[in-house]
């Protein structure tokens, strides 16, 4: 039975903690969202449950977490809709083939490295009923994802959003996220339809039908929102509610299909019109819900994360290796690709550092992995640590690598890079 008093207490504590820790992180030059992620971990068994187990048991008893999860999932559905809406893979085209190469390499390189590393991890840390294909593909997705929203926030705070590195990084992150979610969808397919070819075919057919309906039907329909916005300079209350309902409906469809509600929300966002002012308007309207509900997701993730599951030097070695492989793959792949495209060394390094930001998107992916049992709670905790470390390291490393001088505006592409991009475009 719903204990409304306890739920309100939980929300109060979570929001207060996330604002406080977010503020502290802001003071040390980190984006607030990184602090909010850490606040979630602090409220879980890793810190609060360890220092004050009785207090933790009173505030966050296991039986009460279902309601907290439900609320956080609603926030996440809206958040994923906004992520999809803010992603515009067409931006990649305007960046030339240097960005295309950097983007594709920043997925394929860490993905394959993670799959290779899975050969080592699978016999040691995998769950018994998970096939290697599912495990390897999931690890690949988890290590190749980039936190598009956190990345955009870091770039904006450092006034780099309009710089060449900024525009390429945002475009690459957009492609990474779309690709990552497609692969993750496939992994969920594999898991959900394991040992049953009929349900696999049904699931695949249903999903293809849904995607086609979104691209060729719903896309035209939602274009009306943008037309109404252009005409009146705003959207009516009814239109906003309708958009909200469409988001929930799309999420519900993919939930019924057995994939995950977040895929539906993301897809609806992806087919929304991309006119920048319209995107900014809708984002601003829905942002308040996200601000309030996203910390609940961080807390829920934190309550599932226990560093105490990582026992002994052997487990901590696995954890360190996970951080290392994730960093080498993502940073190395992106930096190497941009170097081969003729970008200066410092900018190539900066792009690698930016693409290594996993943040919130990683936590979303990991929670799905835990829910479908493709990873164990121990591996989940290790991967959460990897997400926190790689996100935390972005800002200081970027400050170290990217001086004011390095931040150039988008048009100032060095001659060699321009030449390669022109050559690539001509092809």
């Amino acid at each position: 039975m719903l204990d409304i008093g306890r739920l309100l207490l939980q929300i109060l504590i979570i929001l207060a903690a996330s604002r406080a820790v977010g503020g502290v992180f802001r003071a040390i030059g980190q984006p607030k969202v990184v602090g909010e992620m850490f606040a979630g971990i602090f409220l879980g068994p890793s810190l609060l449950g360890w220092f004050a187990p009785k207090v933790s048991a009173v505030i966050f008893p296991a039986a009460s977490l279902g309601y907290l999860n439900t609320l956080s999932q609603i926030g996440l559905v809206i958040f994923m809709f906004l992520v999809g809406m803010n992603i515009n893979p067409n931006e990649l085209k305007s960046q030339g083939h240097a960005a295309v190469l950097a983007s594709h390499a920043s997925i394929s390189f860490p993905f394959v490295l993670a799959a290779l590393f899975s050969l080592y991890l699978y016999p040691r840390l995998a769950e018994e009923n998970v096939s290697f294909a599912s495990f390897g593909l999931f690890m690949g997705t988890a290590m190749s994802i980039t936190a598009f929203p956190v990345l955009a926030r870091i770039l904006a705070e450092r006034k780099m959003l309009q710089s060449r590195i900024g525009t390429i990084a945002v475009a690459c992150a957009a492609v990474d996220d779309v690709t990552g979610w497609c692969i993750l969808g496939y992994v969920v397919f594999l898991i959900r339809s394991a040992h049953d070819s009929t349900s696999f075919r049904l699931l695949l057919g249903g999903t293809l039908l849904f995607v086609l309906a979104m691209i060729f039907g719903v896309r035209k329909l939602v274009g009306n929102f943008e037309r109404a916005y252009r005409k009146h300079g705003s959207m009516s209350e009814n239109q906003l509610v309708l958009l909200f309902l469409l988001t929930l409906g799309s999420a519900l469809c993919t939930e019924w299909m057995g994939i995950h509600p977040l895929f539906g929300a993301f897809l609806l966002g992806a087919v929304m019109p991309k006119e920048p002012r319209f995107v900014a308007y809708v984002s601003e309207r829905l942002h308040a819900i996200v601000i309030l509900l996203l910390p609940l997701f961080f807390a829920f993730t934190g309550l599932r994360t226990s560093v105490h599951l990582i026992k002994g030097s052997e487990m901590w070695t696995y954890c360190a290796l996970i951080v290392l492989v994730a960093t080498v793959g993502k940073f190395g792949g992106s930096a190497l690709a941009s170097q081969l495209c003729g970008m200066p060394l410092r900018e190539s390094l900066a792009l690698g550092i930016l693409m290594n930001t996993r943040g919130l998107m990683e936590l979303v992916v990991l929670n799905i992995g835990l829910e479908i049992h493709v990873i164990s709670p121990t591996l989940f905790s290790m991967m959460v640590i990897m997400a926190l470390v790689t996100t935390f390291m972005t800002t200081p490393l970027l400050a170290w690598t990217c001086s004011e001088k390095t931040v150039q505006v988008a048009n100032e592409i060095p001659e060699k890079a321009q030449a390669i991009c022109r050559g690539g475009s001509a092809a």
Binding site: A62, H97, L101, H104, A105, S108, F109, F111, V112, A115, L116, S118, L119, Y122, P123, R124, L125, A126, E127, E128, N129, V130, S131, F132, A133, F135, G136, L137, G140, R304, S306, L309, I310, K311, G312, E314, M315, Y318, G333, L336, A337, L340, C341, L370, H373, S376, P377, T378, L379, A419, I420, R422, G423, G424, A426, A427
Partner: protein
């Protein structure tokens, strides 16, 4: 085709094409691998519990010949905790075999365990049986005169994820 275009394609092949081809090989190779067998959960142990308790420095069982045991698992690493036992025993699972080793059994509260010794638990997982069972023995290291205690354990429930 200009040199620049060629450079682009070579770079693309090297950084994208080659890794993707490698992925296919990795996935194919990985099919041979097996994940650690799951022994995580709450088990009921059937054995001569008096001798069992003696070896582990526990209080003798008060009722019947069954005792509860919790196994928590992190990949290949397992931790055994017998109800009433003063300590947990760490071990590993390799293939279908579980091995655990208690460095030195501690003195029980009632002081009934005078010859504290190292105890070895070895068991085979019968993964095809439903519920899953463990068949094995508990023995004392370096004690020729100590007769190992055999036991059979059946899994009653899985531990809740995150426990």
């Amino acid at each position: 085709m200009s040199r620049r275009v060629k450079d682009f394609f070579v770079a693309y092949l090297f950084l994208v094409g080659l890794p993707l081809a490698g992925l296919a090989v990795i996935l194919q190779y990985g099919r041979q691998l097996t994940a650690p067998m799951s022994v995580n959960g709450v088990w009921t142990v059937e054995a001569d519990l008096d001798r069992f308790a003696q070896l582990l420095c526990m209080r003798p069982a008060e009722n019947g010949s069954r005792i509860s045991m919790v196994i928590s698992q992190s990949g290949n690493n397992v931790v055994f905790h017998l109800a009433g036992s003063p300590q947990a025993v760490n071990g590993t699972i390799e293939g279908g075999m579980v091995r655990a080793f208690s460095a030195t059994a501690k003195q029980a509260n009632d002081g009934g365990c005078k010859n504290a010794a190292s105890v070895v638990l070895a068991a085979r997982v019968e993964h095809k049986s439903e519920p899953r069972t463990l068949v094995g023995s508990l023995s004392v290291l370096g004690c020729a005169s100590c007769i190992p205690v055999t036991f059979v354990a059946s899994r009653e429930a899985l531990l809740v994820k995150g426990d």
